[in-house]
């Protein structure tokens, strides 16, 4: 994985010093809270319901065991012993004191980490496929391109006061495991007919209160024009994105209002101009970065596991992903124990995952946007030993992509924006489906829960989505069906009137019953919904 050189380290150190100085000026009264707010946000520091929250960047979700262990230590030293992994492949700490913030940033800088641009109206931490560089089905490792874009987007002088936040995702497989087309810019690394590597650009996707699937605006950008093309996309947005209404300020609204053709025309015009401006880093830089992502030395070994222990076999079948080397798999560590808080891990669990990564996965971990952790390169021969240790640490839940593996935002338990709680709902649903044994029958079923319209819990992209709203002072939950964040991307549709907390749990039960009754062959919930449509589900819910 990528290692800072002295230049990268100096950039992060300079930023820590800059923030220390900003915090000093705020305390001296030289900065008003309104002036300080965007500065602290661009350093990952939010003011939440009960305390400050610090969001730490994990670029494209990749980190090493030393970094992971440091995240565990920060949870114990500065938080209440927990970290919360998020849908942005980041980690958040929910109980931070303002006076500790600069010290935490300094601790992070020691392990090549930071909280830069994890918030604010700037280009955010870049996300990617959590199986990048390991999976059997990609054309190339997308992370060198993500790293190139990370460097380009860090402290970008022109794009630090955009109309609104800006999220970029880079993948390199036809399988989309990163919700690529629900980003402001989705980049898919592809090969053209001449077998040259380039980038396909999708612009204007997003969730929030106006969900949109990004249309493709360019099917092939040559690699030596990648940054220039991104710069053109951003410049058109910075100049013409709406600033009169923060709810209409994301690039998806601009693309929608201009139309894909007109937005594309403007980007192409700006791109033609920028091509002469020397914006693009030379390909030698991409080559330098790519060296950091070269494969570890894989060894041939066992290609199957001993299937005598059913608990182990269940975990292997559910929580491992096929690797490009046939003696390895990528192993998913579920942070969704039955009745737990999705994405939470204790400081001790984080250190255990760090140690296991060192022992079993060439020192590397990934954070998934589904709030789980991946050990990308595990020998099949080591799987039983790994699982035994995970299970002992309450990290062995065999539930990847099942209804128990739901995404949930922090909701009204923590978040200043939320209208309703999401965590208790997530906990109750996982307990209920685990107890009834129905999880197994339902197979792949992506449940996503947001506590407000901002959709941090990705409810628009859930096979089943739940949105918490405030109805005259009472928490109320809307149910939606048919969303997907994958390569078959679609936006979920609302079933009808909302439910109480108890009612929505019943409603989830009912729609899964409809699926089990109507399912044909190997259909997933989503496939059945797409075949039979909304009506049978509505009938069960409201009939």
């Amino acid at each position: 994985m990528y290692q800072y050189d002295p230049y990268d380290q100096a950039m992060v150190d300079a930023r820590v010093e800059e923030f220390r100085d900003q915090a000093r000026r705020r305390l001296e009264g030289k900065l008003t809270e309104d002036q300080f707010k965007p500065l602290r946000l661009m350093n990952g520091l939010y003011l939440q319901l009960h305390a400050y929250m610090l969001r730490v960047a994990i670029p494209y979700g990749t980190l090493n065991s030393r970094q992971m262990a440091a995240l565990g230590d920060i949870a114990d030293k500065y938080d209440r012993g927990y970290g919360h992994f998020t849908t942005r492949q980041n980690i958040q700490y929910n109980w931070i004191k303002l006076e500790d913030a600069a010290d935490i940033l300094a601790d992070l800088a020691k392990v090549e980490m930071h909280a830069i641009q994890t918030s604010g109206n700037c280009i955010r931490n870049i996300s990617s496929d959590h199986f990048a560089g390991a999976t059997y089905d990609e054309i190339i490792d997308p992370r060198p391109y993500a790293e190139l874009m990370r460097q380009w987007s860090s402290f970008h002088p022109e794009f630090t006061y955009l109309p609104r936040k800006f999220k970029i995702c880079v993948i390199a497989s036809d399988r989309d495991r990163a919700a690529m087309r629900l980003h402001d810019i989705g980049v898919q690394i592809v090969k053209n007919e001449a077998d040259e590597v380039g980038a396909r650009f999708f612009v204007g996707g997003g969730m929030g209160r106006t969900p949109m699937v990004a249309p493709m605006i360019r099917d092939f950008v040559p690699l030596d024009q990648l940054i220039t093309y991104a710069e053109a996309c951003l410049r058109v947005y910075n100049r013409y994105g709406r600033r009169d209404n923060k709810y209409k300020a994301r690039i998806k609204i601009l693309v929608h209002e201009l139309g894909k053709e007109e937005y594309t025309r403007q980007v192409e015009e700006e791109f033609a101009h920028l091509l002469d401006q020397g914006v693009e880093p030379p390909l030698e830089e991409l080559a330098r970065i790519a060296e950091h992502f070269s494969d570890p030395t894989f060894e041939d070994g066992a290609k199957t596991v001993d299937r005598s222990d059913p608990d182990f076999v269940l975990w292997v079948d559910r929580n491992t992903h096929r690797h490009k080397h046939d003696s390895y798999v990528s192993a998913v560590i579920s942070l969704k124990p039955v009745g737990g808080i999705p994405g939470d891990a204790t400081g001790e669990q984080i250190r255990i995952m760090a140690r296991l990564a060192k022992q079993y996965s060439f020192d590397e971990l990934r954070i998934m946007h589904t709030q789980n952790v991946v050990l990308p390169h595990v020998k099949i021969a080591d799987l039983h030993a790994l699982w035994t240790e995970l299970d002992a640490a309450d990290l062995g839940a065999p539930n990847m992509d099942t209804i128990e593996d739901m995404i949930a935002c922090p909701g009204l338990d923590y978040c200043a924006l939320a209208n309703a709680r999401s965590l208790p709902l997530a906990q109750r649903i996982s307990e209920r489906f685990d107890a009834s044994g129905k999880t197994e029958k339902l197979g792949e079923l992506k449940l996503k829960i947001s506590g407000c319209i901002n959709a941090c819990g990705h409810h628009h992209a859930g096979h089943i989505g739940i949105l918490g709203v405030d109805k005259k002072g009472v928490e109320n939950y809307q149910l939606s069906l048919g969303g997907s964040e994958a390569e078959d991307v679609s936006l979920a549709k609302i079933t009808g009137p909302g439910f109480t907390e108890d009612g929505v749990i019943e409603a989830v039960e009912k729609v899964t019953d409809v699926y089990l009754e109507r399912k044909e062959g190997e259909e997933r919930f989503l496939d059945t919904y797409r075949r039979i449509g909304m009506e049978p589900f509505k009938e069960a819910l409201y009939g």
């Binding site: 050189d5 230049y7 990268d8 100096a10 950039m11 300079a14 800059e18 100085d21 900003q22 000026r25 030289k30 900065l31 002036q35 965007p38 500065l39 109206n121 460097q151 380009w152 860090s154 402290f155 970008h156 002088p157 022109e158 794009f159 630090t160 006061y161 955009l162 410049r235 910075n238 100049r239 600033r243 101009h273 920028l274 401006q277 020397g278 914006v279 880093p281 030379p282 030698e284 830089e285 330098r288």
Partner: protein, 158 residues
Amino acid sequence: MAEDIGTSPDDVQFRFRDDEMADHATVTVDACCDQTNATAVRIEPSDDARVLLPFLDRLALVEVNFPSFADGRGYSAARILREEGYTGELRAVGDVLIDQLSHMRRCGFDAFAPTSPLDEDDAARAFATWENVYQHAEDTRQSRLGNARRTLVELRHE
């Protein structure tokens, strides 16, 4: 003659140029297009900087107004003018604060007239924030500003 809507030389707190300051009425972008002898113009966030391209040779001062520091359109306006070869004074005016100075400088601003004067020490620190930079911008364009700063990529591959 259009009304002078600009800042005066006295309002300029920081300037990175050796030439004389233009002391001529600053007009709106619309007026600048109509008025063939205007040498100073003020760009508002909603103005298209490219409208000025036919007149760049006669302009000695372009003011870019930041009514709010949070509105970043002026950064693009500045870069576009520099990319198109504008070499006159590019002055950031309005809600210009300490923490925007380094980025503004990178985008090609070489004069600053903040509505509220800034602390000199804090400003000096802000201008010196980045010893190196990741991206190519106006400060790394060797042929124009003459200070020949290099990007990290250039330093890595020299």
